[in-house]
């Protein structure tokens, strides 16, 4: 079997595996749901996540040890990951093939020539690593924005899958939404379509992971190279070259993605995969000068504190950035989050959303809770997000830790925020209308929302008595709306008596319940007060965990009368509201 066929099978296999992992990332126990599938395998194999988090935290989170497999294999074999494994690379390979197959060989050779701009990916890599390298100044992990594995994971999971699943409803029972998803899709499509301009555009010019592999493949034991120093220079080997590495001349090892197309296309078998360097010469270093390296690094080192000048990690933090339960304190969180979107994908209630730049540039595409989206705020008995986070930016907490039970009873539950009423919008507070849907839905026990009963005189609710007959009070005024007071929430208050519940009314009479009586019957000409019984809700901040079910259910839609704010979140001492007992 030809080596290029093996490569294609490998690409197809890993791509299918990747798509399968995207499909099964739904909480559940069917075989097509989460169960125990290792959905983070590609993210763990990705050394950029490992190296990035190692730089920012000076630790290697245990599953990221997989990256060592990739690094060691790359050191031995070269950039096999790009050519044989990377699902994003496979996509570019395929689109590039589709877009350019009708072109003539000379056009294709022209497309695949090496371009100086291919050094940009090294600049991007050094910039990103520079931003992560000095935690003592400021370190932030932004590699996930352009790292291809998180990029393709979030593009598939947050966009392609919901769009494709919308009519079928197979992967998710309800339609899924992701805020600002259009922008993620736009970038994804733009990058994929750029393959129609130059094949493997992203791989050659942008991919920081490819750049990383390019750097460490300098010592590759085996490499592509010419088996003879002179050849006829037909350049057919560059006809389908994926990496743009110029195998016809001095091959650039750091650009070669081991597609083996050159070996296949050469009619004279002048190209091989061998331990000796190419007999026509090779260039092992990436095409970046020392000056370029230093400038990129310096820019990266400056960029981290620069994006923090708004003090958004200090007192100017944005209160609507509500992180999932189990998230590390913000500065630590930003050192680990690779913006892969797994937490957003797996969240059963669809409440975790890709953040925007409110609260700073670093918030971009990090997980933020939006209680207005999805089916019900952060579900009480759920820890899915922490279970799937590949770098432990969201810790894999147990249910006991989340709810503050068993071993965690002394510490108490994890709060992601606190709910606040907007009393100007709340129906019983501002509109004299009974409601309390929020209190009903509060899932903690004892509830974090409690009510206090109060009786308010309604608008135009003071009337003059004309005549009282048993349970019927006729009024002088004829201003009442018939039936309006018959809902079971209205009362008639009379001086010297306990208030009585109203059963029915018309324009000029009210009738109290059959088994109620006034202790002191009001005489003609005296005043009665019509009152509505309201249960006015309050938040008990000692109980509220900020789950947002109340915000989700509040009938004052649009801008809710109760909203969760991240103040009071337990992950951060600075944001704490409660005094500890």
């Amino acid at each position: 079997m030809k080596i290029v066929h093996v490569r294609r099978i490998s690409q197809a296999f890993f791509f299918s595996l990747f798509v399968w992992f995207c499909i099964v990332s739904t909480v559940g126990d069917k075989f097509w749901q989460l169960r125990g599938w290792p959905i983070n395998l590609f993210l763990w194999l990705d050394p950029l996540s490992a190296i990035g988090t190692a730089l920012t935290t000076h630790t290697l989170y245990w599953p990221l040890l997989w990256a060592l497999v990739t690094i060691v294999s790359t050191i031995i074999f070269g950039r096999f990951f790009c050519g044989w494994v990377c699902p994003f690379g496979t996509l570019h390979n395929f689109v590039g093939f589709l877009g350019n197959r009708k072109k003539s060989p000379s056009q294709k050779i022209q497309l695949n020539k090496y371009r100086k701009a291919q050094c940009i990916k090294y600049i991007i890599l050094i910039l990103l690593l520079g931003m992560a390298a000095f935690p003592s100044i400021d370190a932030t992990l932004q590699a996930g924005l352009l790292d291809p594995i998180p990029l393709v994971t979030r593009s598939f999971n947050l966009l392609l899958l919901p769009i494709l699943d919308k009519s079928v409803g197979f992967v998710s029972a309800t339609a899924r939404f992701y805020e600002g998803g259009w922008f993620i899709l736009a970038i994804f499509l733009a990058v994929v379509l750029l393959n129609l301009v130059i094949p493997r555009f992203y791989c050659r010019f942008i991919c920081p992971l490819g750049a990383l592999f390019g750097i460490i493949s300098r010592f590759a034991i085996w490499r592509i190279g010419k088996t003879q120093s002179e050849c006829i220079d037909c350049k057919l080997c560059e006809r389908s070259c994926e990496g743009g590495c110029e195998p016809a001349g001095k091959i650039r090892i750091s650009e070669c993605v081991l597609c083996f197309n050159c070996r296949e296309d050469c009619k004279h078998q002048f190209i091989g995969y061998q331990t000796r360097p190419s007999l026509a010469g090779e260039i092992t270093n990436p095409d970046i000068s020392r000056r370029g390296f230093v400038l990129s690094l310096a820019s990266g080192i400056i960029a981290a504190p620069a994006v923090r000048l708004s003090n958004q990690l200090g007192s100017n933090w944005y209160h609507r950035v509500i992180r999932p339960p189990g998230a590390l304190p913000e500065e630590e969180f930003l050192k680990r989050c690779i913006k892969c979107g797994q937490c957003m994908r797996v969240c059963p209630t669809n409440v975790i959303q890709p953040g925007g730049i409110e609260g700073g540039l670093e918030n971009f595409w990090t997980p933020v809770l939006n209680n207005r989206i999805g089916t019900s705020g952060c579900q009480l008995n759920c820890t899915a997000c922490g279970q799937v986070c590949p770098t432990s930016a969201i810790r894999p907490i147990t249910l006991s830790e989340k709810l503050g039970t068993d071993d965690f009873a002394r510490v108490g539950p994890i709060r992601v925020g606190t709910a606040f009423f907007d009393r100007d919008r709340c129906l019983p507070w501002a509109m004299d209308k009974p409601c309390i849907v929020c209190e009903e839905n509060c899932p903690v026990s004892p509830k974090a929302i409690y009510t206090q009963e109060c009786f308010n005189t309604i608008r135009d609710g003071i009337l003059t008595v004309k005549k009282v007959t048993e349970n019927l009070i006729e009024t002088v005024e004829e201003t009442l709306t018939p039936g309006k007071l018959a809902t079971g929430d209205y009362y008639c208050a009379v001086e010297g008596s306990r208030r009585c519940k109203i059963a029915a009314n018309a324009e000029n009479w009210i009738e109290i319940l059959p088994d109620e009586r006034f202790e002191k019957i009001p005489g003609a000409g005296s005043k009665i007060e019509l009152q509505v019984r309201l249960q006015r809700p309050y938040v008990d901040i000692e109980r509220c965990i900020g789950c947002g079910v109340c915000e989700h259910e509040c009938p004052v839609s649009g801008k809710k009368a109760i909203m969760v704010s991240a103040v009071g979140e337990t992950r951060s001492t600075d944001h704490r509201l409660l005094l500890k007992r």
């Binding site: 909480v27 559940g28 409803g169 029972a173 309800t174 339609a175 059963p348 209630t349 999805g374 089916t375 019900s376 579900q379 009480l380 008995n381 759920c382 129906l427 209308k433 009974p434 409601c435 309390i436 849907v437 209190e439 009903e440 839905n441 509060c442 899932p443 903690v444 026990s445 004892p446 509830k447 009510t451 809902t487 079971g488 929430d489 519940k501 059963a503 319940l513 059959p514 088994d515 249960q535 079910v549 259910e553 509040c554 009938p555 839609s557």
Partner: protein, 331 residues
Amino acid sequence: MTDQDNKKIERRQFLTRATKAGISIAAAGIVSARLYDRQGPKAAVDAGLLVTLPDFSVPRKNGQTICIVKGSDRKATVSKAIELLGGIERFVAKGEIVAIKPNVAFASSPLLGATTHPELVAEVVRLAYKAGAKQVIVTDNPINDPASCFTLTGIGKAASDAGARVILPKPGLFRHTTLPGGKLIVNWPIFYEPFAKADKLIGIAPVKHHHRSGASMTMKNWYGLLGGRRNVFHQDINTIIAELALMVKPTLVILDGTEVMVTNGPTGGSVSDLRRADTLIASTDCVAADSFGCTLLGLKPSDLPYLAKAQNAGAGTTDYESLKPIFAAVG
């Protein structure tokens, strides 16, 4: 070619072109005529055809309207109660499609009593199949995430293990309805499709305290049929419950008072909110069932305004004594 030939070709080309032009003009004209709208758009979007839920009730039988069974084993008490009301064959005929609507509102463990106990759902499914039902559907439109609710309450597994088909709500399964004479259910979306194809409907609800309405029992259980932003009806909770009792005419309702949520309803959240009452009620009259059920919460029917409203509108009677309730005990 000769001049004459050229002219022939020109003429043919002209005729072809003219025909195509004519067809395009005709097409433009026809499409305009079909789509012509003299009136312009209306202020509100037409909800389309309004539907009505079928009437699932079975003929009355004096003395076999409501049955109250005491016992701690739900499977035993519900079987006894249905048997005393005439047996499952009175309610389910061979080859029928039976819809069961339990309370699956919250993603809550069955231990907390906020939702229908899965054992009870499984037993009723089993009885329906025993009577020869062609298919049993178990469905609800929950408040929390639907998939999570059916999983965490145990109802999804219990139902499918017993052979029933679980239907989760999807936008396409809702239709608009108006209750004749209703104030609130006017042009409102209801969870319709699973019930449209059913021949019989059985509601199963636990007895619960409810902070807004006082209690949540068989009548409040129909709230799960409402779609849209149904929370808005909490402003007039008693009227909406009464209207639900008019909108839904079930075959049978089962009110589970084995463990009653006496406080912090409807979600509860702790076993300390529950109290054992070991009572199960089966009834063809929701109003009567709820009127008896509220006594398990220490209330009287007059404490719940929606009962009187429903009775006055003709949905049933609060005077359950007058229906000659059958009392029994198991174990």
